[in-house]
Symmetry: C2
Subunit: 250 residues, 2 copies
């Protein structure tokens, strides 16, 4: 009998935002897989997803890091995920459950989809939803991201200018994900739309080095991958009163 | 010293989707508040938020149900939340922490905002983000709600036709919340946009009586309040292959 593939959301960073269900499945799985950065020349980095749940992993569990190159724009994703799916599929075929750790939620802009699309037709899969960085960012800013009849749009920063501007103008609240190296361009677009005073900037939410501040006060020209901009139309005065917080994890 | 007001997300329905943090705060709080339905003539119903975490509530904790009238379109929200905020504020002023239970996430279309806006200026508040029905619905449908550079828009069904159609046409993935009595109109709009075959319908996700099916197969003319439609543009074939599941909680 095949083992089961679990895609579990481990939340946005605060280890306490793990769900009871993810905790149960994680501790019961003989095999754990997770993405980890590959800095080239044999240098692997720490997995962010694994670091969130490190306290719950036992030495008896087999671990499969899936190394993702960080240095190149277009990495050989196909081969990397093919290889990982083959290794994971081997465990499943041998009857062992495999738990894949996913930052935030597995089905909300996650890389779990690459394993899912390779294994879901041939093996039983269960998705355990997790707390998303979207909700954690609203909590950190201290303001509902959407209320009553608000239209909320989530936009990945790599989208082109036209798509970003159109979506920003047609919504009441906007979350821009994966800001990273797109910070300067995205900030200019928000300014063009007249919404710079309505935007909050968030970085590494829930971690010891988190940052939350009005976007207008941010002087950086690039942001880390785990950064987000939330735009609250009509809340300019409120955003202006946000105190800058740095290293002040919830 | 003032007690602290906690707004904790208890997740979309499955009791196991509570976070470790929400569990810790819930069990440590001397006072717990939550919305509950008021059916009129003195008939109060069970609180959905409370039912999710009922196993963790002890008889030593004081409970404050906030009864919300179900029968009228425009209920006296102001007075109800004023009264609840006064009662909760009394506990906080007396130094007792108060934990407010919020279905899903407190800041994602939740009623917690009405207490938050009344108490946040005068008392310390902490928001504990939760798993949203948006993520639980994608998990139940078995397909990422958003991937790569998808634009995802979340729309409350009470919005007018023009706003709904414009937002639907400008996005790659669309979640329509609070479908309820708007089902017939929303379904007609989705059909008008040519997207009926790309839409999945979900009801009471994570509960024993959950339902998941292609919207095109749904024969109901009204939906419960806790229902959602997810539209996956370009995934018509995939939606068509979804088996109808009823009473099949994850």
């Amino acid at each position: 009998m095949s083992g089961k593939l679990y895609g579990i959301g481990v939340g946005p960073g605060d280890p306490e935002l793990l769900t009871l269900k993810a905790h149960r499945i994680l501790t019961a799985s003989p095999v754990i897989a997770y993405p980890a950065p590959d800095f080239g020349q044999g240098k692997g980095g720490e997995s962010f997803a694994r670091s969130i749940v490190a306290a719950h992993i036992s030495p008896d569990q087999e671990e499969i890091p899936i190394f993702i190159p960080m240095r190149t724009e277009r990495f050989p994703a196909r081969e990397i995920y093919d290889r990982a799916a083959t290794e994971i599929g081997g465990h499943l075929d041998a009857g062992r459950d495999v738990c894949v750790l996913c930052e935030g939620d597995p089905f909300f802009y996650g890389s779990f989809m690459y394993l899912f699309e390779r294994l879901a037709d041939s093996h039983p899969v269960e998705i355990v939803p997790g707390v998303s960085s979207l909700m954690a960012s609203a909590a950190a800013l201290g303001r509902p991201i959407a209320a009553r009849n608000d239209r909320l749009t989530v936009l990945p920063a790599p989208l082109d200018d036209e798509a970003l501007l159109a979506a920003i103008s047609g919504s009441d609240a906007i979350a821009i994900m994966k800001v990273g190296r797109h910070l300067k361009r995205v900030r200019a677009l928000i300014e063009k739309a007249g919404l710079l005073p309505a935007a909050g900037y968030l970085e590494r939410i829930g971690l010891a080095n988190q940052r939350v501040l009005p976007l207008i006060d941010l002087e950086d020209v690039a942001a880390p991958y785990f950064s987000m901009i939330l735009i609250y139309k009509g809340a300019e005065d409120w955003i202006a009163q946000r105190p800058l917080t740095q290293g002040d994890a919830a």
